[in-house]
């Protein structure tokens, strides 16, 4: 019964002939790469050819991929996009810190911490149940309308506040999953050394938890990096807003493509990095457990 297995492994002794030499393995590897390359080129070549030769293509190109419009709108959208990037960076730093605090509060045990736990759980449940866009509208239009003294009126401020509040609830759950993934015996042995609950979390649980959830956190980065554009509903002239203004003037959608390209230029590398990191982490864990 070993025949099929040997076949799959490609180096079974006996039945199917001699075990391949290293040279043969290398030749096979080279052949595999060649096939992969050829099939990829062929597949995407055909796809591009099909699109470009379709009767609708000139119209599509005119509307979405017009080089003149592209050149004209690029500086404006880029300037707006730069605002997106800055908003993202500010929000992300605050989210990472604030949500960690929420997750730690949620992880505290004992009756004395019940009110804090209720607060943390209530916050997470409530905010996760409300669309981010709605939160942006409520805070971004609602709070400035109150005209309270000493309270900022800037739509950027309130848009970011809404994003931070919304994303922190999700990120707190990511951290919580990480804390729960650390074995209970770690908490126990930290406590047995006399560390307080908070010290055990801070020095023992959280550092291990963060390592476990870095891929999930990076995923959140990608998501937020795009969602900052939602503040455009408050009239903030970020990338998408700039693109929309141009479209409204010219009835040409190339500006949207410009915005999409800019977002992709940031999010694709982050996504690739996340994959690479997750894979490396997985291999390391396997190496340790062997």
């Amino acid at each position: 019964m070993s025949r099929p297995l040997d076949d799959v492994a490609g180096r079974g002794p006996g039945v199917l002939g001699p075990r391949p030499t290293r040279r043969r393995a290398r030749e096979e590897g080279a052949r595999g790469a060649l096939i992969a390359f050829a099939s990829t080129v062929l597949f995407f070549g055909l796809a591009v050819w099909a699109i470009l030769s379709s009767p609708a293509w000139p119209k599509v190109q005119q509307q979405f991929f017009n080089p003149e419009n592209f050149a004209e709108v690029f500086p404006d959208v880029l300037r707006g996009f730069w605002l997106d990037v800055r908003m993202f960076l500010i929000a992300e730093v605050i989210i990472l810190a604030f949500s960690l605090m929420v997750a730690m509060i949620r992880a505290l045990r004992g009756p004395a911490f019940l009110p804090l736990r209720i607060l943390a759980v209530g916050y997470i449940d409530l905010i996760r149940g409300v669309p981010t866009l709605l939160l942006i509208l409520i805070l971004g239009f609602g709070v400035p309308a109150l005209q309270l003294r000493g309270v900022p009126n800037s739509p950027i401020f309130w848009g970011l506040a809404a994003l931070i509040i919304s994303y922190s609830a999700y990120t707190a759950e990511v951290y919580r999953a990480g804390i729960e993934s650390v074995h209970e015996s770690q908490r126990m042995s930290a406590r047995s050394l006399g560390l307080t609950q908070v010290q055990a979390l801070r020095f023992v649980m959280v550092p291990q938890a963060i390592r476990n959830v870095i891929p999930a956190l990076l995923n959140g980065f990608v998501s937020l990096q795009k969602d900052v554009a939602l503040v455009y509903v408050l009239g903030v002239r970020e990338g998408v807003r700039e693109a929309q203004i141009y479209t409204a003037k010219t009835f040409n959608y190339t500006s949207y493509v410009v915005a999409a390209v800019l977002f992709l230029a940031v999010s694709v590398p982050v996504a690739r990095f996340t994959d690479w990191y997750t894979e490396r982490d997985r291999r390391r864990k396997q190496a340790v457990s062997v």
Binding site: S185, Q186, M188, S189, A190, S192, L193, G194, Q199, P207
Partner: protein, 248 residues
């Protein structure tokens, strides 16, 4: 002389499963008491009760003349002078050996980093681990990890040490190095409560041996008596099986 550790009438149940029933046990200063008995007999739970990791349902535990099971006792204060070592080592995998050891002295006892490091290095040196100080735990053998765990517990200068089957997770060839550390502590007069399956070791090191069965102390006394001439049929049966397994 009042005992260093006195456990009286301790009862513990998880839901409706009784794990410890009416436990009376005392450990005098500089004595080593070994807890023996099959898995699930309550040895581990008893040690965790003493370390206040598991709250007891009834009875009291007095440590150094003070009751530690009262309502307003701060468990963190009690643990400042008590060390416990677990079966599964439980080192912190994200910290180097030296940081594992200096964490509690620095954060709980307020010792400066330099002083804590110096003391940790001298302890590591004593147990032949000085060259492992900068390693991460997963680079160490099981025996080395467990010795580091013992050093970590010793680093706070405890008045009593609790050992919870510290060799049960080790390869046979690594057991001796860990037991020798405990023997050395005994020779220095450390007060110890030790749950173990190693009967030969219990015979050497224990001043008293305590046989637990189904959450009850069936008999206790000097090691020669309990291991050599047990009175209870259940104890005899247990020891018989240990002998059959070739572990005594």
């Amino acid at each position: 002389m009042t005992p260093k550790l006195e456990i009286s009438g301790v009862r513990k149940a998880f839901d409706d499963k009784v794990v410890l029933e009416d436990i009376d046990l005392s450990v005098d200063q500089h004595d080593a008491v070994c807890l023996i008995g099959s898995s699930g007999s309550g040895k581990s739970t008893l040690l965790k009760c003493v370390n206040l990791l598991v709250p007891i349902d009834a009875g009291r535990i007095v440590f150094g003349g003070e009751e530690i099971t009262g309502r307003d006792v701060n468990a963190n204060d009690v643990r400042k002078s008590m060390g416990i070592v677990f079966q599964a080592f439980n080192l912190f995998p994200h910290m180097r050996v030296i940081d594992n050891i200096t964490l509690a002295p620095r954060k709980v006892h307020g010792v400066s980093k330099e002083e804590a490091t110096e003391r940790a290095m001298s302890l590591l040196g004593r147990f032949d681990l000085a060259d492992k100080a900068r390693e991460y735990p997963d680079r160490l053998s099981g025996g080395q990890q467990q010795r580091v765990a013992i050093v970590r517990a010793l680093a706070i200068d405890p008045e009593v040490m609790l050992f919870d089957e510290v060799t049960s997770a080790l390869d046979p060839e690594l057991i001796a190095e860990v037991l020798n550390v405990i023997r050395e502590l005994k020779s220095e007069g450390m007060t110890m409560l030790i749950a173990t399956h190693e009967m030969g070791f219990a015979k050497d090191v224990a001043d008293r041996v305590c046989f637990l069965d189904a959450g009850v102390i069936l008999e206790q006394g000097p090691p020669e008596q309990i291991l050599g001439d047990p009175q209870q049929p259940r104890t005899r049966q247990f020891l018989q099986r240990i002998v059959e397994a070739g572990r005594m």
